[in-house]
Amino acid sequence: MTTAPKPRDFFEASAAGAADHELHRKLENASARHLDHFAQVRDEFTPYEDERNTARAIKEDAIGRLDELLIELTKKLEAHGCKVFFAANAGEARDYIVKLAQTSGARRVVKGKSMTTEEIALNPALEAAGMEVVETDLGEYIVQLRHEPPSHIITPAIHLSKEDIGNLFHEKFGIPYTPEPAELTAEARIRLRESFLRADFGITGVNFAIAETGTLIVVENEGNGRMSSTLPEVFVAVMGIEKVIAKLADLPHFLEILGRTATGQKLTTYTNFIRGPRAPGELDGPREMHVVILDNGRSAMLADPVLREALMCIRCGACLNVCPVYRHIGGHAYRSPYPGPIGSIISPNLVGSAAAQLPFASTLCGACKDICPVKIDIPRILLHLRWKETSSPAPLEWPGAARRARAGARRFARMARHPRTMRILGRIAATMLKPLARDGWIRRMPPPFGNWTKIRDFPRPRPRRRRAVESQDAKG
């Protein structure tokens, strides 16, 4: 396995993704399959549209009174015997969990899939403290074996083909090469089962937390969340403050909509209702249960009237699957556990300045908004974040290529204000470009425009008469 040098910023990383045609093929395949599954269950229970409105209203209500709901949730969880810890930032959450693992004498940690623990970079901290940490979601397990981060919220190894994974297992485990998903899964089952049975410390994320009953909901398909929360003696659930909803009766709306949009299922295979440590006499369930409730930039999003809407996200990953940018550059280019459209609006707050460029990486086509189960207006928030960034006293340092592109856009804007110059230049350009066109498209242009055609085609200039008519129309 060869590892490319680490990209310095989003531009380098996205350029690498954009040039990787193999990656496009994998992402297109996976996205198509996902959208196909989604189409089959889209209007299964109630029309998707109605369900979205309902889910959004519930979430909006909950976000609007996070303070009281979190108090209620905490009281209930504590009454069930949980220890609840509030972490203002990633560091506090990490320190608490590492210290807890140390004091409880843990050596072997199993984790269910959790983007929040990726956000706080928990694994390196636990490993530095001498723990063995095993990601047990199959996709997470695969990317952990490759020492790389997940590239999709729902399907962490979406950037890998079955052949890639076959080779990985062959190299790591010395088993005969096979690209068969069923055989690869069977191999992982045996290895991970051993990890589960030996583990003394389990960690999962949380999909929803019900204030009314003090119940944490962990949604999954494989059983990794069940195992991680049932078998080890100490269990820690990590959740963002925005996961809380008011009532048990609110839950069905979200479960039905999350299954549909995330994986095209009516309901995911396992929905765990977890309330606390085991009762006396019980054979399974943890002896000790901790809940870490994480702020880490979320209250700042709450304080921003436009950005607040992003807290409604239920992490279904649907916006990634429909996003032309994500499908072109892949999840790793975002360099955040939250890639894609939703990642571009939440990462700047949750993972910090490294993600400040992300709101600019969008065509604003709106496909994300159209599919979002809680109707988050992602394009609007992207524009808001761009505005915030460009009007901030210390705007971003852009790399050379981006600076040159912006300077070019400014020059174009100046030119476009003078119709006559524009017309003359347009005629010259059209005459020069015409011989380069094949089948209506120009695939290569001379410098300095060659950078454009390196990754996209340019349309052939249209006949003069049509342009003239359009400009007449424009004059009204």
């Binding site: 229970f45 899964t185 765990n272």
Partner: protein, 232 residues
């Protein structure tokens, strides 16, 4: 609790600062929408069976309690398991089933509560070697082919998780139309007091090229029987 107070103070400030313009959305229009009228039992059973099979489970049919025992014993014999684990039932008598399996020469372990940690470890160790786990579900949900199972000292969650083959039965009058109805049937108090799992098909993954594979961590197979309340 100091951190909680600190966080709540932060949240209050943030809520005030970021209050969006009113209107936009009418909050709390969330009455549950039943997906089918609570019709005929037969219809519920049929819908449940169809949905269960759609997610890779196997519907064995409806049986009287005596027939159900025979069917489970026959099922266990097919695979000739080294060990079968059974938890206490919800409405059914697990003892009769255990006796029948035992009589058929199958090694059976019944999960019993214990507070002794060594005993617990020993039971868990044996438990993890069971090849079939048998449990009774509290409810079945027709619209999604789902089984809802509460965890109890004598009916641990591992029962439907560790063994590669899972056999679950449910009383016919405990099949409800949808998830909302199941949650309502449990009531908030029950769910606040126990761990509960909704099971919709065998364990599954689509993490490799979005291709579906059954039996990742949990059971590879899920067989479900519906039981009539009487033997007449």
């Amino acid at each position: 609790m100091a951190e909680l107070h600190k966080l709540v103070a932060t949240l209050k400030t943030a809520l005030e600062a970021g209050a969006p313009n009113p209107a936009a959305h009418d909050a709390a229009k969330h009455a549950a929408v039943p997906l089918a009228p609570d019709g005929d039992r037969a219809e519920l059973v049929a819908r449940f069976a169809r949905e269960l099979e759609a997610v890779g489970g196997r519907f064995l049919g409806t049986f009287t309690p005596a027939e159900a025992i025979d069917r489970i014993v026959a099922l266990a014999r097919e695979t000739n398991p080294r060990l079968v684990a059974i938890g206490d039932g919800v409405a059914a008598d697990a003892g009769a089933l255990a006796t029948a399996l035992d009589a058929a020469g199958i090694d059976v372990m019944r999960t019993a509560p214990t507070t002794d940690s060594d005993a617990r470890a020993a039971i868990r160790d044996r438990f993890s070697r069971a090849e079939i786990g048998i449990a009774e579900a509290d409810y079945a949900i027709a619209s999604t082919g789902t089984l809802a199972v509460l965890s109890m000292p004598s009916r641990p969650s591992s029962l439907t998780l560790l063994a590669p083959a899972s056999v679950i039965f449910v009383q016919i009058d405990r099949i409800v139309p949808d998830l909302a109805a199941a949650l309502e049937a449990f009531g908030p108090d029950t769910l606040a007091a126990h761990r509960m799992t909704l099971i919709t098909g065998p364990s599954r993954t689509a993490d490799i090229e979005k291709r579906i594979v059954l039996g990742v961590h949990g059971p590879k197979s899920l067989d479900v029987l519906v039981v009539w309340p009487h033997d007449d």
